[in-house]
Symmetry: C2
Subunit: 446 residues, 2 copies
């Protein structure tokens, strides 16, 4: 048995069948069962996989799990393109173009090579990129770096810190813009995190991902990358933004403010939407069309303020009927410093949460209220419930997304340990996350 | 000091000022501070309120909290319309019309009288309704009952049970349709709950609410009520549905399936949206326009199956970066039977959740996966993470809303204590909550 198969993730019956066929990961195999035939490249199996399926990558680009039964036949019909791990030659770079660094953190957009051979190779070099998206070399001089190789559901606050620091290094080195390639699952959380960690930016920082891997005909990777690099190289603004398909078709890219964006569909290419805000810009045919006047201008003179620390002792609680209020006590016991409530409607939770919230707040836990409605603005002055919660010390977070509020409070406790200061910062708009209503001091819309 | 002021919620300085003016709740007062003057009806204060504000209801219908300073003057300028609590005379009912029962559970739609006087009077009699919405008497013969008077954030599983039982009684009594008036905050959760609790319905059960109280010019209460009563009286379908404004304007009502609807805006009148489904119908000019052929037909012969029990030992966990996986262990220790994960993207959580999830599942906790994207379908066959989670025993809940999945699992454990049976039911479409994709047995889109 080759070393490859040992690490292939296959075990038991499936491994036995593969071994008998003298096949290895990357080989082309044919699987015959009754009157069905499947051909494709043998790819590795998840370590938690069962012993009954073999996974092959078909010509269509789709992966298929074929169930092995006693009558299933498997034969090796070709040597696979074994991972070469040799970068193609780099094109000559045009010295007049802006310099853009692409930092790869993982995700579908950085996983093209894995899919071709089945080998896990999350690398993303400038050469790789140029070979997939040749037009990039006409937009910018690109330097690509692998920061880490993670599905984005595994990205945590420590990775936000590391990413922010690396972006800051690139900016000190005089780059004209930074692109961060990222899995789409938690890309909006990271966008919010970088927005708080990287203030007074001289150049844009653009998060980009892909909903379909680059080896599938419907992939959005190339269009998204071109859009993101265009923004990093040329945009008139200098903020943390997220660039992805604007519609299900391939015509335009929407550029969303990092604190105002949310993933709103499991699979559509236009999954990201600006919430309670318009996108900052659109990119069409490599042209940037601004959608608002309200943005921070690109200015090479701006001195970056790097504040990359986050404190993980902050939790998000989505409220629901019959929720156990003891969960609030549990977080208090665990030493949590902040809680973001995703309440109902205008910002409500049930009465039986009042006492544990009171206790938490009296013990210096900062509690903020957002709405699980997602769209609209929390208004805790309309009903008794909201007024009661405010009287307990719950902070109304206006039109802030709950995900952004969570990240912001983690970031705040990376800067201060004073709960009063934390509360003040939470209510203050720092990087476009909150647009407060202007009401005369003595008036509240009760 | 009158008994009224004792229960007014005012205390300290605010109470003193009110007492000095010899004003009572319901009186018309004028508050003068520097060059600002406010006039309106004095209304009660939340028990958690501060001592610095007095709340009055202005002519505009808005409530205003005025801050009391040492120079603030307050005077009583009129006797308020004290709550009469006398129902207006009932109109003569047309005996040829269908019979509809309106069950009031509370919320803005049932709070009209409170707002007029500030007195808490959540009553909703047929007489009240006819006086506000006279056209109702031309649509149906209405009987109105107060079930409870709760802001919907305080509605719990026990209230779902009670509501389902009362609906069943009304149906046994031969009613042609039931309307449930409900606060909008958790109305979608209740709609899902009643969908599972009331199966094989002979007539429609229609939830309705209002985003603006009936005494405000922009109120949606009348339009929504007319729409809901029209559906209850005449609709060709017999399902649990939710009827609310279709757009911000007043032209039409959308009728959503109870398991497929979500509150998506904190304040807009068209806040409810069907997710991963089209609305069942629209109501325009009291006409019902069907939007789908896929519905359960109204049929007086149908024998209602009442299954009103729910088990509260089920929790919803919204995943986020740096979430503490110990929360899963806590629920296991607390004897929870089911967990619904609101994962990222296609249905993912971070790797450090695997061990606690494995332990929970080995201890017979049923774990289902939905997506925090809200729109789209969970697909746990695309990435390693999803396959790993399935291998651990996490159940993929396809296109089911997380809120519906939570309610469904509470309902399932009201019917069975067998985790295998529970898992089977969770994956089975019962009342339109799930539309499974049809894939050949041996194929998965990996």
């Amino acid at each position: 048995m080759s070393q490859k198969n040992a690490n292939s993730g296959y075990k038991g019956h499936a491994l036995e069948v593969i071994r008998k066929a003298h096949a290895e990961i990357g080989d082309v195999v044919r699987i015959t069962k009754q009157n069905e035939v499947y051909e494709g490249i043998l790819i590795p199996r998840s370590e938690y996989g069962d012993q009954k399926h073999i996974i092959i990558k078909m010509k269509s680009g789709y992966n298929v799990g074929v169930k092995i039964t006693p009558t299933t036949k498997i034969e090796k019909i070709g040597e696979g393109a074994k991972p070469a791990f040799v970068a193609p030659p780099q094109p000559k770079q045009d010295e007049t173009l802006p310099k853009v660094t692409i930092l790869s953190t993982g995700g579908t957009i950085a996983s093209r090579v894995d899919y071709r051979t089945g080998g896990v190779r999350p690398a993303l070099t400038a050469g790789d990129l140029y070979s997939v998206v040749p037009e990039l070399s006409h937009i910018a001089r690109i330097d690509a770096q692998i920061l880490f190789s993670l599905f984005s559901e595994n990205i945590q606050a420590t990775h936000w810190t590391q990413t922010a620091k690396t972006v800051a290094e690139q900016i000190s080195a005089g780059i004209d813009g930074v692109v961060v390639a990222h899995g789409t699952d938690t890309m909006a959380y990271t966008a919010a995190a970088l927005s708080f960690a990287l203030q007074n930016l001289p150049v844009p920082v653009v998060l980009v991902g892909s909903q379909r891997s680059a080896d599938r005909p419907s992939s959005d990777a190339a269009t998204n990358l071109v859009g993101a690099v265009t923004v990093a190289a040329k945009a008139p603004f200098a903020e943390v933004v997220l660039a992805m398909h604007e519609t299900p078709s391939d015509t335009a890219i929407a550029v969303h403010r990092g604190t105002k964006v949310r993933k709103c569909h499991t699979s559509r290419r236009d999954t990201f939407k600006s919430v309670n805000a318009s996108p900052i810009a659109r990119v069409q045919d490599q042209k940037i069309i601004m959608q608002t006047d309200d943005y921070k201008k690109r200015n090479a003179e701006n001195k970056l303020i790097l504040k990359p620390e986050f404190d993980e002792k902050v939790a998000l609680i989505k409220f629901y009927p019959s929720m156990n209020p003891e969960i609030i006590e549990w977080y208090l016991e665990k030493g949590y410093k902040g809680l973001i409530l995703e309440g109902t409607g205008l910002g409500h939770v049930s009465k039986n949460c009042y006492e544990p919230l009171k206790e938490a707040i009296e013990n210096d836990v900062v509690v903020g209220m957002c709405s699980q409605c997602i769209w609209g603005r929390v208004n805790m002055n309309v009903y008794d419930t909201g007024r009661d919660l405010q009287a307990l010390g719950v902070v109304s977070l206006e039109d802030m997304l709950s995900e952004t509020a969570l990240v912001k409070l983690m970031w705040i406790f990376g800067q201060t340990s004073d709960p009063e200061e934390a509360k003040k910062l939470l209510k203050t708009n720092i990087v476009g996350e909150l647009s407060p209503r202007t009401l005369p001091d003595t008036l509240s819309n009760e």
